[in-house]
Symmetry: C2
Subunit: 495 residues, 2 copies
Amino acid sequence: MQERHKDGTETPNLGDVPADEFRSAMHRVADLVCDYLEGVGEYPVLPSVRPGDVARSLPESAPEEPESLEAILADYKGLIEPNITHWNHPGFFAYFANTGSRPGILGETLAAALNVNAMLWKSGPAATELEERVCDWLRQLLELPPEFRGHINDTASMSTLLALAAARHRLSEYQIRECGMGGRSDIPALVVYANEQVHSSIDKAMIVLGLGHENLRRVDTDLAYRLDSRHLEALIREDLAAGHRPIAVVATVGTTSTTAIDPVEEIAQICRRHDLWLHVDAAYGGSAGICPELRAQMKGLESASSIVVNPHKWLFVPMDCSVLFVRDKEGFESTFSLLPEYLKTPENTAEAASRPTDLMNLGVQLGRRFRSLKLWMVMRAFGVSGLRARIREHCRLAQLFAGWVEADPRFELRAPVPFSLVCFRAVLGESGEEQDRLNEAILARVNAAGPVFLSHTQLEGRWVLRLSIGNLRTTEKHVVQAWDLIREAWESVAL
Amino acid sequence: MQERHKDGTETPNLGDVPADEFRSAMHRVADLVCDYLEGVGEYPVLPSVRPGDVARSLPESAPEEPESLEAILADYKGLIEPNITHWNHPGFFAYFANTGSRPGILGETLAAALNVNAMLWKSGPAATELEERVCDWLRQLLELPPEFRGHINDTASMSTLLALAAARHRLSEYQIRECGMGGRSDIPALVVYANEQVHSSIDKAMIVLGLGHENLRRVDTDLAYRLDSRHLEALIREDLAAGHRPIAVVATVGTTSTTAIDPVEEIAQICRRHDLWLHVDAAYGGSAGICPELRAQMKGLESASSIVVNPHKWLFVPMDCSVLFVRDKEGFESTFSLLPEYLKTPENTAEAASRPTDLMNLGVQLGRRFRSLKLWMVMRAFGVSGLRARIREHCRLAQLFAGWVEADPRFELRAPVPFSLVCFRAVLGESGEEQDRLNEAILARVNAAGPVFLSHTQLEGRWVLRLSIGNLRTTEKHVVQAWDLIREAWESVAL
């Protein structure tokens, strides 16, 4: 890039891309974003691309000379946009469907421009205080008592890892923070309990924290795939008898496989009895807790030690935004806080006196993006009534679909539908294996068609299809279309 | 929000904010972003706001009814933008200065709209392959051999945590991943070594991994604050004699306090001798490695087991973007990978056959934002020549400032200037304490003025001022201004 001077000479411009070029590119991007969201439904949800196709279209090395923003945006439009999986597609029914909603995109765009790193209050006052405030808005909607303090992490995987690190740190007699777990014969095996269908992020936390994968006890579930508290109690007693040390239970509100809701209140009683940390993984289901009638299904949430809720799942905030609520903020902070000299706030200043939160003390990452901006914009643009209406609509659509499945003898529901996920399968065939192959073939056929994308899981060793509703653009029409495609696939595959 | 129908009735619109309102808001945001970047220099770098001021201006609860995008953006402009610390300000010389450059903002905006979660290749083909490709572009520029594979994490704190987790996992005889470190008398204390001025993220990794804060050995430094390899060797021998188990060394290329460059080549030899993992924290300094003459200062980088480089620091990419290069990708993956049923790719498909990367296997987080898009756009918009020219210009400005400090008897340089950070202090006063108070007062006065923001550190127990250059908008004029303000402050404070 050259800068042209009044005398006609040119020298390299060592600042940013020139302002006028950027302004026009930014408006072009504004239109690209709007066009994308208005037209996303016309793409197949899954791109028809094979591994390596995109890589082969990309130069092997970075360009030596600057390229124009126009050329770059043209490549974005031609090569990138068509070759992603369209999570914003109304036919995206896989995993947990989510949405990068329009107000959220506005927030992300502004956050990118501000580029605040709110590691310290001082390095981002509004970012720090907005984060605390919007997390408190969410706390109120979830009917959690005021001692719960929320902060934002990137993902539930991190939020859960931090919660279990705090649970371990609470065992003050072992001084694990300072002394570690190596070279110690005094520390017993530290055990964590969870629903056997718990999310893989709990497994990862066990591995990373050095607690060991095998010290995650998988508790049996009842017929609705909810954690069986009698089995939990029995496992805890077994571990105690064996000289192990139970430290935490992870209860799930909305398991990934079936959105089952563990009996949090019963689990909380067991945790009190044995002095265990209770972490609630409500990454998906927690969002529904803003509707009082759905919150009523989560009794005991208020008794947790920590709760993770991901607004980037079902509160329409673009990736990434995971809120971790902790009851004992001070104890939580003492797990992680470290203050190197170059980040110390001089003692005699106003901010030192009033001790504001420094977000860097609330976890592993020193760097903190301004993630609350998008959450704030989404909550305001939809309003509480709007957020509730949308969650209720997704639940209504799931019930509708579940009703169709139940009414059709070729299919069966495989789990209750407390939220917006339906687990079902086709039932033709004598053996379980035959049914599995049938369902696998149906899934492959449905997903290859283009307009919808479903996923699957295994329940009791059998293939089960998952239809997950959670995208703002999904309407009844799209759910009907999914059902039509599923039945068509049944006919091509089974007949 | 209501949807108006042709017959004049209105029903709640349960989709996203209407397309036309959004398009006009998106263009308004495009202008807000452009105006902000063009005018950011007119703000004081640090807002004149006290803890609690912003919070008091925010409603205590979320609004019940939707609010207009216009109202929300007006609040953004009035309440948020003026009350952040302006990391994009040309006078931001604190911590490590960085920039959310214009092409990076374009990339972040598009990524927010796509809202891809590239946890699996299948859930984001272009996002996965672009990430691998741009990391490889960076690998080539850093003159690393092709066996190094890069992927993007949010922050260096996470990249380093992952690297040390992999170092621990490499001790296969202990099966820590499976069995954990509790209830084990066979595992010795596991020890990690680093420059005594190592970044706090290493301390956090030790704590979180359960290795223990005290098992991070702080190696003495030479007069230039570089790790002393003889002391490293001596510490390792002491630990071995004591029955501890050395597992890794963290070498730093650009320490946070002074940007000292540890002798990576010597350290690599020691690591080979003792079979240790060598992680290089080049979060800041690594970016400079794209200039051959600066890369020459980092000899031995190519011998590392893992290297972290943060393009969100000095490659002008908005937060967050931290690239972790690992030499043994397969071993690294085996530290973390877990594949629950609902994420398994059916065996008989094309993508299963060609085994593309699933980014979720490369760390803790399941969710993966499309971070490579902004890095791609920045590398293309500036070109390699442009990136190099900007880094060289920042280093030139730092040398210029260092020269002024050296020529002025009231000040002294406190550390070499290999990159773009200058550590210096005022020298008036008899005792070290007096000098500390003088420098503290100078810093307070300079930062209160508005146009610049400096930070400080401690070296050998004494206060030292840091002027860090790394923002694209910073020109010689701003460095001159900082120097003027520092000398004025000296006069008001010292005389």
